[in-house]
């Protein structure tokens, strides 16, 4: 039975169509190093959009805010500085590459809407600290919103649809949205918090099938405070485990994640759970490859998987590449640009 959901009017969000100021994520460049470059390439080269990648831009400090390390006033001032940079470069559309950052930008602009005194205080702080002034963005979107907006354009240029080349069947793809995208402000997420469309829309547009499993909306367990303290990581991994157990009967071909932390942990925790319990959740006792939506878009558009950074994943992505019929050179997987081989991955045997 297919979910018969159509995006309700309440959850249609406005997404700017061009001229974006890009706010990178602080952690994605380590976790999935090809994703942000791929987003910029797709936007500039495949979609012909203007986007400014600002070297002066910093972390939004959301990671520290959610870990109780940085107070609200500080993060508001950091965010105000980002808006100042955007204004200085003549942009009005802010696009964030991380759902936590996105959630922070929404939380802060909403706060300012309801507490104008707070906005004035932050203007004062920023002026005092940096001499800068700022305008509020006209449009704030998450980078996946932009990919979602142009999903049909990407579909037109598609080289490898999300179809199993051997069976001709759509690939079964689990979407994971991430709590900070729409659970805090459902009206700011395409489709709201319960039936979020942002990744589903891409999967369907590119020929795949989404998996509607019972723990679909459950948190991946990242939880900031949980994974930061080693002793607490049991909570984190157990949440992911709950999701894997729930999706297992559907035999998904891949997971696509919206959030830097979710993508990271859904990928890494599979390895950890396999080490701890010898349990794997994909079909035929395999693990389930985890992609970011930029990586998925890149694959669909025919980018070289090693340029997308897929060799940096914990779960081997090649079974998915084979299902999609993506052409790749296995020897190139761990070869540096200078031509040096830096090793090969051998799957760990569980104890």
């Amino acid at each position: 039975m297919q979910t018969q959901y159509t995006v309700s009017k309440n959850y249609r969000k406005e997404i700017a169509d061009d001229n974006y100021y890009y706010a990178r994520s602080c952690i994605r460049q380590n976790f999935f190093p090809g994703s942000e470059a791929t987003f910029l390439n797709i936007l500039k080269n495949d979609l012909g959009r203007t986007i400014y990648d600002d070297p002066k831009h910093t972390t939004c400090t959301g990671i520290a805010y959610h870990s109780d390390v940085i107070p609200f006033n500080t993060i508001q001032t950091v965010v105000a500085r980002h808006f100042a940079l955007m204004s200085e470069h003549g942009f009005e559309n802010f696009v964030a590459s991380c759902v936590t950052s996105f959630g922070m930008y929404i939380e802060i602009t909403e706060t300012w809407k309801h507490f104008p005194d707070q906005l004035e205080e932050i203007r004062h702080h920023l002026k005092k600290a940096t001499g800068r002034e700022f305008m509020l963005p006209k449009n704030i979107a998450h980078t996946s919103d932009v990919v979602y907006k142009y999903r049909m354009r990407i579909a037109e240029q598609m080289k490898y649809p999300l179809i199993n080349v051997k069976t001709g069947q759509p690939l079964k793809i689990v979407d994971h949205i991430g709590c900070h995208y729409a659970k805090m402000f459902p009206k700011n997420g395409e489709g709201g918090a319960e039936f979020t469309q942002v990744l589903q829309g891409m999967i369907k547009a590119w020929g795949g099938a989404t998996v509607d499993y019972p723990e679909r909306r459950h948190c991946c367990g990242f939880g900031f405070r949980q994974y930061l303290v080693q002793a607490n990581r049991g909570y984190s991994v157990s949440n992911s485990k709950k999701k894997f157990e729930s999706m297992q009967p559907y035999e998904p071909d891949a997971i696509v994640a919206n959030c830097p932390g979710c993508a990271m942990f859904l990928d890494r925790w599979q390895f950890v759970i396999n080490e701890m319990h010898g349990k794997r959740y994909g079909a035929n006792d395999s693990m389930i490859p985890v992609l970011t939506y930029e990586e998925l878009a890149g694959l669909v558009l025919g980018y070289n998987p090693w340029d997308l950074g897929l060799q940096m994943h914990q779960v081997d992505v090649t079974p998915l590449l084979d299902k999609m019929g993506v052409k790749y050179d296995p020897d190139e997987k761990y070869r540096t640009r200078a031509g040096r081989q830096i090793g090969s991955y051998t799957p760990h045997q569980s104890r």
Partner: protein, 338 residues
Amino acid sequence: MKNIVVVGGGIAGVETACLLAESGNHVTIIERSDKLGGKLNQWYCLFPDFKKSDEVLDYIHNRLKNFDIEVKLKSVVENVEPNGNGWFIYTGNVRYAADAVVLATGYDLFDATRKEELGYKIYDNVYTQADIEAKFKSGNLKTSYGKDPERIAIVHCVGSRDEKCHNMYCSKVCCVTGVKQAIELAKFLPKTEIFCFYMDLRMYDKHFEELYRSAQEHHNIQFIRGRVSEVSESSDNRLSIKTEDTLSGRPMKMKLDMIILLAGMEAKKNTLATAKLFDVETEESGFLKSKDFHLGAGILSRKGIFAAGTCISPMSIKETIENARSSAFQVNEYLKSL
């Protein structure tokens, strides 16, 4: 002879109209739809005694035959003008003079799609209690897969007592409706496990508590105290729910074949427009505001305008009939004072 216009031809409107005609007034009923009886037409049987809804409908139709009441179907009040102590009421090209007006505009069933997490109109086999009444009428209680459901959940308080839906009040008749439907289902489907997920069980009227006990004792209906927070579909095409078994203090999950949402009674959207036309006050909930909670039920904020039935608050059929009779009495008292 005084002229009275009754807006709404559900059971409250018809009962009020008949009593007012009986005391010698000229009464007109203006009804939006194409038949009298309102939402009761969709109901199969009534709590707490399983009386067939048709018996109540027959009662009001037969009663109507005794009086010379003008019934205007498919008509809407479009405009209201003051006329001395009374009003001119316009519908289409027709003008009615009225010395008093009774609003009996009824209720809307809460739109269960607003509680997205419960999957109404998203997953198959998720129904409201109104859908189930229709199923009782047709006698077909199979799932969309053509099977008898092995397990059914009845979910209480959908859209009631819920700040997220802006409905702070208790719709009060849903609890006993759930218990009634659970027993009917158990009779139709003796092998099916039936669960009621409740927060509080409000068995407020005569025989309700006994019905609840009978559901437990004779029909093995299981009452689990906890709000269903999420409905989804399982890989074997069943429905899967999450709740807390609050009496155990632990989260709980369960697979089911059918879910029935007890959607609350909401103030009708049309009532708000009608209230505006007649310049009478409504409450924050959207229901019509009576002059005094204890002593003035059905007497609205403007002289000569009265209300009857579920446009005042959620009510059972019994209470609606009682309320209609009391409103008719109030109208007569008012007319005497003119």
